[in-house]
């Protein structure tokens, strides 16, 4: 090959490369392409010059063009144009060139047909694979969708544009309360109330939003109408035209019910339905914050006395029942007031009153609470009444609820310290006797209601002539199924529950009803002593309402107050328990004769006597089981007693002795200057008729 021939071929390769490059992307570098084409050109030139000539090798060249991916639109055309000119110039034989180009075109055509079919096969397989995969994914996604729809707690419906149901899920049927088949006869808007139907219908509008979430009123098959959250989505087809509507319905009724229950649980006391402590405090806060300055607000903190007595005696269920009744009572007392109620601890209640023009004074409110609580509640056949300590506080200068609440609690503590209607030092009852006591104590109130408790009189005798000069009034309880319980035990039980402050006024009221009788009898005995004597327990002596009760009883008797003698508990007066000293002074000022019972002597008690209006002392069970006549006259016991009687006499007071058993004892007391006495030696206790008989015998 001449060097000139070589240059021609290189130039031809460059021309050919440019021609091909303009028709197809060639994934080769320029050098690679050049070398590749130069190789083809060499073969072509060899072929056209070969003797004998055969055009056949040109076919392979056509195939090689395809294999090299020179498969562009005009690649063959451009190649033939470039090559045929060059080959004609090289060989000068048009026949040979035409034959070779024919072979080349045939080889190219054959190869490109196979190549195209292969590629088409390949891309169709790819399409098939992709389609299969897509269908599998679609099936899977449909399964997922179906599972979601079926198991969803949301009611789901797919409808056409008329609202006709195409698909519904079980939850929707459950929410509406119908059978799945029932949807066939309906359209979507049928599920909603007339008032909210239009809203739902809006979702079908092609020009509206594709998705809306709204509240609409569902009409259930039982006629109930409930508000539900409804999400409505308009699905569009490929041309953006609306095709389906998807509705999801969330029935809120159960949720709302639950929410209310939770609210109730967190704000209400489960037993009584009153506010619980936390919520009551928040109510106090909001009332304080809301009320105009200067507007009176009263907070009562009520602690039920010895509630554990009921729990121990009757069991916790009975205790709960009693608490419910206490709650009812409190609400009854304040029925006419703008009031809020809280149970703020096991046996502690609180009442918040926003005072109005007709709201009674705090004292009257407390009295009303006491009176209502004193009404016994029947648990089975047992009537139970309770006492309570109450702390009351008016609105403070501050609007701080915590301070306000604290002030009421502090008032309550003060009330408890005073011992008012409050029994203290209570420990868990350890033995059966104690337990029985608590049980009886709790039943005592009911016993008053049923008449099992009655007045019990004992004669009071003047020792100088052993004449009956009056009666000592007490109570006796004859339970239906147990032994008689005498006055002292009744009082002890009543003191356990705080009931005794109710017993005092009752006793006074009942006994004063008989006062005219005792006055008449006393006249026959020419007695200047008071004819009706009542002894008050510690709690009764200290009761703030005592004076009112005494006044009322005396007024009802229509007899002068001087015929009545009330004996206060000496220690209660000496300690200043409650209003005991004031009570004594006021009762005496009103003309009632007062005495001190359970008097033990000693400088302090004598001093108390000297400084008080009491002109009588009662020595109660002075010697225990020992009797004065059994001791020698110079024994300390006897000497001390004699001195005591003398000391009382020097102050100008009389002495009465309680519990005299026999004649010898009566004589001894009489010898030592004791004025009057009570005791079994003077006859058994009895009712008013027994006493009348006794006095007429004696008279």
């Amino acid at each position: 090959m001449s060097s000139q021939g070589r240059d021609e071929r290189v130039a031809l390769a460059r021309t050919w490369a440019r021609a091909i490059g303009s028709t197809v992307y060639v994934p080769m570098s320029a050098v690679e392409l050049h070398e590749y084409l130069l190789d083809l050109i060499t073969t072509l030139f060899d072929t056209v010059a070969a003797e004998p000539f055969t055009a056949a090798p040109a076919a392979e060249l056509g195939r090689r063009l395809v294999r090299a991916k020179f498969t562009g639109h005009e690649t063959l055309q451009q190649s033939i144009a470039v090559l045929s000119d060059a080959l004609l110039a090289e060989s000068g034989s048009a026949d040979r060139v035409v034959a070779m180009m024919g072979e080349l075109a045939a080889g190219y055509a054959e190869a490109i047909r196979g190549w195209t079919l292969d590629q088409q096969e390949e891309v169709k397989r790819a399409l098939l694979d992709a389609t299969r995969r897509s269908e599998a994914e679609l099936r899977e996604s449909e399964n997922r969708f179906r599972e979601v729809v079926t198991s969803s707690a949301l009611g789901i419906a797919i409808t056409d544009l008329e609202g006709k149901f195409l698909q519904t899920n079980p939850a929707l049927a459950e929410i509406i309360g119908c059978k799945p088949a029932d949807f066939e006869q309906r359209v979507l808007t049928d599920l909603f109330s007339v008032a909210t139907r239009g809203q739902v219908a809006n979702a079908f509008r092609a020009d509206g939003p594709d998705r809306m979430i709204t509240k609409a009123e569902l009409v259930k098959d039982d006629g109930d109408e409930v508000w539900a959250n409804v999400a409505l989505s308009l699905l569009r087809d490929d041309d953006d035209a609306p095709s389906y509507l998807v509705a999801m319905v969330q029935d809120n009724s159960e949720l709302e019910l639950l929410q209310r229950q939770i609210e109730t649980l967190t704000s209400k006391d489960g037993l009584t339905g009153m506010h619980n402590r936390q919520f009551f405090k928040s109510r106090v806060e909001s009332v304080l914050g809301r009320a105009a300055p200067g507007h009176a607000i009263t907070l009562l903190h009520i602690d039920i006395d010895n509630f554990s007595v009921v729990n121990h005696g009757f069991g916790y269920e009975a205790g709960d029942e009693l608490l419910v009744s206490i709650a009812d009572k409190l609400q009854r007392v304040f029925a006419d007031e703008k009031a809020e109620f809280g149970r703020i601890d096991g046996d502690e209640f609180a009442v918040l009153v926003e005072n109005g023009p007709t709201t009674p004074s705090t004292e009257d409110m407390i009295r009303a609470v006491h009176a209502e609580l004193a009404e016994p509640v029947y648990l089975g056949e047992h009537g139970i009444a309770v006492g309570a300590s109450i702390g009351a506080v008016g609105r403070l200068w501050s609007t701080d609820a915590v301070e306000f609440f604290g002030a009421a609690q502090s008032a309550l503590r003060k009330a408890k310290r005073s011992g008012l209607r409050q029994w203290s030092d209570y420990d868990k009852p350890e033995d059966a006797t104690e337990k029985a006591d608590f049980e009886r104590a709790a039943m005592l109130a009911g016993a008053f209601e049923t008449g099992e408790v009655t007045l019990d009189y004992s004669p009071v005798v003047r020792l100088s002539d052993r004449k009956g000069v009056g009666v000592l009034a007490g109570v006796v309880w004859q339970p239906r199924d147990a032994e008689v319980i005498a006055h002292d035990d009744c009082v002890r039980l009543a003191e356990l529950t705080g009931l005794s402050v109710q017993v005092g006024p009752w006793l006074l009221g009942e006994a004063c009803g008989h006062l005219p009788i005792w006055q008449a009898l006393a006249a026959t005995a020419n007695a200047k002593e008071s004819v009706l004597r009542v002894r008050l327990s510690r709690a009764q002596s200290a009761d703030g309402d005592l004076v009112a009760a005494v006044n009322e009883a005396v007024a009802r008797s229509a007899v002068g107050p001087e015929f009545l003698q009330i004996a206060f508990d000496t220690s209660a007066v000496a300690e200043g328990l409650g209003t005991a000293p004031d009570n004594l002074f006021t009762v005496a000022s009103n003309g009632v004769r007062v005495a001190l019972h359970s008097f033990r002597g000693g400088p302090l008690e004598l001093d108390l006597l000297a400084g008080s209006e009491a002109r009588s002392v009662v020595l109660t069970d002075v010697f225990g089981d020992v009797r004065p006549p059994q001791r020698s006259a110079d024994s300390a016991l006897v000497l001390g007693t004699v001195e005591l009687v003398r000391a009382v006499a020097r102050i100008g007071a009389e002495v009465c002795v309680d519990g005299v058993r026999d004649e010898e004892e009566a004589a001894w007391w009489s010898d030592h200057g004791v004025h009057t006495a009570t005791g079994l030696v003077f006859g058994d206790p009895g009712d008013v008729h027994d006493m009348m008989a006794r006095f007429s015998d004696a008279g």
Partner: protein
């Protein structure tokens, strides 16, 4: 159109795809009648589109070889399309068969086809995902299993971003990929522009509207923003035929008809 998210993308051979049109313009036969019909309409509007396609494929080859020369041995090819002639792994493996190449496309047929091509080819992977959801790509076990993001990666985004509409936030998309790349990584971009077509660009754009892929041509300034956080290497963002041409033939006849800008940049 309200298409629930849980619906997988369907396969519709009747709907022309840019990937298959591109294949046809490059002289391939991995296409359907509907693709060829659109390609023929494009050619009628502007006979230069075949050249545009060819130029892009040539740029791909030059860009990959340039990145290989910079030491890059990992490629992430976003919107890889039909594995037509001169794929990235074919170019790269000629230089170094250990080079890792990951392809990403969301067109089901292209992906299925790629899987067939790549079956048995080591160091390659194809992920079916929407490249505009970068986390789906970057967090994919397939991608993470092949590429080491602590080493430089060649990120290829050729003829891709002009298919991403403004509302898909193309600049945020590229930023997410950029942030995942190690320093020394490279980004190669080619992007359709109205600046470099003589027919009205609208003609091409309108024609492409009948396909799965609308076209959003962008200006040189806008395309430059795709390289935020990268330094463009010479010669910068230029008409595609002028990017480091190997021969005058690569330069073509008239760069003002190139149709696309192209550039390669290095991550700081």
């Amino acid at each position: 159109m309200t298409t629930p998210d849980w619906m997988p993308p369907g396969v519709d051979a009747e709907l022309p795809s840019a990937a298959r049109i591109y294949d046809y313009l490059l002289g391939g036969a991995h296409n359907f009648a509907s693709d060829r019909a659109v390609a023929d309409r494009l050619l009628a509007v502007d006979p230069g589109v075949r050249r545009i396609a060819t130029l892009n494929r040539a740029f791909l080859r030059r860009a990959v070889l340039f990145l290989m020369s910079q030491g890059i041995r990992q490629f992430l090819d976003l919107g890889s399309g039909i594995p037509t002639v001169g794929n990235v792994h074919e170019i790269a493996h000629q230089v170094d068969p250990s080079t890792k190449v990951a392809y990403v496309d969301y067109e089901a047929v292209a992906v299925a086809h790629s899987e067939m091509i790549l079956a048995g080819v080591d160091n390659t992977a194809i992920l079916m995902a929407d490249v505009t959801e970068p986390h789906l790509v970057l967090d994919s076990p397939k991608i993470r299993g092949l590429l080491d993001f602590d080493q430089p990666i060649g990120l290829l985004a050729l003829t891709l971003f002009h298919y991403i509409p403004p509302q898909r936030k193309p600049f945020q998309v590229i930023a997410a990929y950029r942030d995942a790349l190690a320093p020394g990584s490279h980004l190669a971009v080619s992007h359709f522009t109205d600046d470099l077509v003589h027919s009205t660009g609208d003609g091409l754009v309108d024609t492409m509207k009948t396909t799965q892929n609308n076209v959003f041509p962008r200006s040189k300034d806008e395309i430059t923003q795709l390289f935020a956080g990268f330094d463009l290497v010479d010669p910068g963002l230029v008409p595609i035929s002028l990017w480091r041409p190997e021969t005058t033939m690569d330069g073509g006849d008239d760069p003002s008809r190139d149709g696309q800008y192209a550039g390669v940049a290095r991550k700081k």
